[in-house]
């Protein structure tokens, strides 16, 4: 009882963006474009770099409909798309009683063949167009009754049944679904302005970057590379982390790598070990603020969380902020390490983040760094080395690495 492919489609649901009033069209455009790019990415993974997704994508009644058969590629693409509350593979049938009932029976039959007999079920009807005489509840009862007759082993359960049979009644063709996959939520990438995320190689920064994507900002990516004092394994690890961030980004961003070890060496030769970590961070922020506009980014994203390490006290964050000319977004600012680890596991960055690789921030720094720095102190130390010259040198030395998922 297979259905022709043109009767198959995938229905996307979204909630947050539906609330955005005037902007709704704009958000839907982003979501649609993202989904198309992510599906194409999957097609290209098959080996054809020119593969295009030719399926039609339409919008109806606060839903997006993709004309495509259901497969693992589509599922993967949708599982990586921010802005979806859920999605379902659907079957389209003519909007009349006989077609709806026959379609529902066939879909339940297909479900049972795939997953086995469910303990219970219910029909969940929704009328986008009121073209049938019945109310939603009456349709539930009508189609539910026919399903009970066709599958005598089934039982109806209205609260949390094992199987929902979804019916969406529309003017010409109505939809039937039996599977509803939860989406990632958030906002579609590109619905907010781009930001520049600083990736360190630890647990926090990739999570911060992905959380930012989830709020709709595409993230450009940069890394401060402690070469020659840290080895290339650190760079490879950060490239791998950038790839994981790009998994959730329909347009993958390359990683901008700033050579930083020599700069740290210059700072270390001139300054107090107690302040070095804060001074390094201020230099990073200056370099990032100079790079961001070139990449079209309006602010920075870091993985800092309050009090996690010595450089992340309120006073030190204030000293670091004072060097910035753009806003610094810190999505993890109130997170515990446990919460960050749970997020890293959710997004799939955990295993890569815990690979060995030394963070450059601690290079030449005192084991007991200053907890309460002041802007004056930092500026006094910075008068001992040529700040702008080092920023310019760092910018000139940036190398760009591909990091496609």
């Amino acid at each position: 009882m297979s259905t022709p492919e043109h009767d198959r489609a995938v229905l996307l649901r979204y909630h947050e963006i539906a609330l955005k009033g005037q902007n709704r069209r704009w958000f839907e455009d982003r979501l649609e474009g993202n989904v198309r790019l992510l599906i194409e990415r999957g097609l290209r993974a098959g080996g054809d770099p020119q593969a295009r997704f030719s399926g039609k994508i339409t919008r109806q009644h606060g839903r997006i409909l993709i004309e495509t058969a259901w497969n693992e590629n589509v599922r993967e693409a949708l599982c990586n798309s921010f802005g979806l509350s859920s999605f379902s593979p659907i079957r389209k049938v003519p909007t009349d009683h006989a077609s709806l009932i026959r379609g529902a029976i066939e879909e339940v039959d297909a479900y049972i063949r795939r997953h086995g007999q469910p303990s219970d079920f219910r029909v969940l009807s929704r009328r986008s167009d009121k073209v049938l005489p019945e109310t939603s509840v009456e349709l539930d009862q009508l189609i539910g009754g026919e399903l009970l007759r066709a599958f005598p082993g089934l039982k109806v359960k209205l609260e949390k049944p094992a199987l929902y049979v979804g019916i969406e009644v529309r003017r010409d063709r109505s939809f039937i679904w039996t599977e509803k996959v939860p989406g990632l939520g958030g906002l579609p990438v590109g619905s907010n302005g781009p930001l520049l995320a600083m990736l360190s190689g630890g647990l926090d920064s990739p999570v911060a970057a992905i959380q930012t994507l989830r709020r709709g900002s595409a993230t450009r990516l940069m890394h401060f590379y402690g070469t020659p004092f840290v080895g290339e394994e650190v760079l490879r690890k950060v490239i791998d982390l950038a790839r994981i961030v790009n998994r959730y980004q329909p347009k993958p961003e390359p990683l901008h790598v700033v050579p930083f070890g020599k700069l740290q060496e210059r700072i270390a030769l001139a300054t107090s070990p107690k302040l070095r970590t804060v001074l390094y961070r201020r230099m990073m922020v200056r370099i990032a603020c100079a790079l961001a506009p070139r990449l079209g980014a309006h602010g920075l994203v870091t993985g800092e969380s309050l009090g996690q390490v010595a450089s992340q006290t309120v006073e030190n964050l204030a000293t670091i902020n004072a060097a910035a000319t753009l806003p610094i977004i810190r999505p993890l600012v109130t997170c515990d390490k446990d919460e960050i680890i749970a997020q890293a596991q959710r997004w799939g960055s955990y295993e890569t983040s815990i690979r060995p690789g030394l963070d450059c921030c601690t290079l030449f720094a005192d084991r007991h760094p200053a907890l309460h720095s002041s802007i004056d102190e930092a500026e006094a130390q910075e008068s001992r080395f040529p700040v702008q010259e080092l920023v310019d040198e760092a910018l000139a030395g940036i190398q760009v690495h591909e990091a496609r998922w």
Partner: protein
Amino acid sequence: MKFHFFDNASTTPCCEEALGKFRQFAVEDFGNPSSSHALGQRAARAIQEARNFFAVTFQVGPEQVVFTGSGTESDNLAIQGIALARLSQPGRVLASATDHPAVRKTVLALAELGFDCQLIPVDRQGQIDHGKYLELLTPATQLVSIQQVNNITGAIHPVEELARVAKQRVPGLVFHTDSVQAFGKILHPIGGTSVDLVSISAHKVRGPKGVGALIILDRKLLADGLRPLIWGGEQEGGLRSGTQNAGLIAGFHAAAALTLSRREQSRAHAERLLARLRGELEARELAPRAIAWNSLNAVPQIASFSVPALPGSGGPLSRLLEERGFLVSTGSACSSTKPEPDPVLKAMGLPHAACTSALRISFSELTTEDEVTALAAALEESIRRMALLTGKRI
């Protein structure tokens, strides 16, 4: 950039003889050694010749030579192979606390199967603590694995003596040694000694990567004492199934023959290099003030030392040396936030500062005395630079 390679304990460049064999059996005589046709039999003949070479080298029968994919696999076959054959009555298994992870982790993993796994403590020189060793050798002990030469410090363990002592206490136990670092540098155990199983690897002796061997010195273990880890077409006497790579095995044979034939002259050469290194460091007033040697009774090819005045500097120092064209190894692994001491140095009881500032310099017959002099100069420069950067006095 042309590098001076001082990391020969990690691996060595493949010699031309071995490379030629690899090519020959990859593209010309590429038959499957299990095939009975001419091309297959050429490959089979090369494997037989290699097997006979190692049999003579270790004074055993050819069937006591099992080719594997690496030294690590040989260690696993020995340890797990012995343990799995004794699964009905799991007893005690010992390894030295400074053994290579291929041994240490394999032994400790046996705890999940019900074995009583213990690590034998070592002293500050990395030598087995004899008293503790005797205490640990209970009648329930089934397997002891102690490496012949430590891969981090170069410390030599008298494995034949240690095996004899163990068997006097517990006559039935099996003694395995990881000779991966020792093979080609010092004399290895042979048939008739108290050692039962020996692991070796090709790429440490200028052979190709991806091939090793387990030598079963005690032929009684062939009968049913050792259980395979990889099942299939019964290659390697059923102990390691899977189509053999005749090129890698023949390359191993060629490289091992070359390395063993030059063992004495290589050793004398390494001793000269080590003396040069020590002399240069003393002349530069680094040793003994800033530099602490980590093992006295070591092979001359491996020099391990720490710079305890610069804790955590192992990684950065190795990078500074690399920048100057010298490749060495650190004695520490870097976690994501702070330098972690190497388990070997930690087990030797070295202070944290020494563990996290350790470097390993390892020579080969290709290393020259001039290179060593240049290395010492680069080392001095790097150490003084790190001292300056971290505000420490040297």
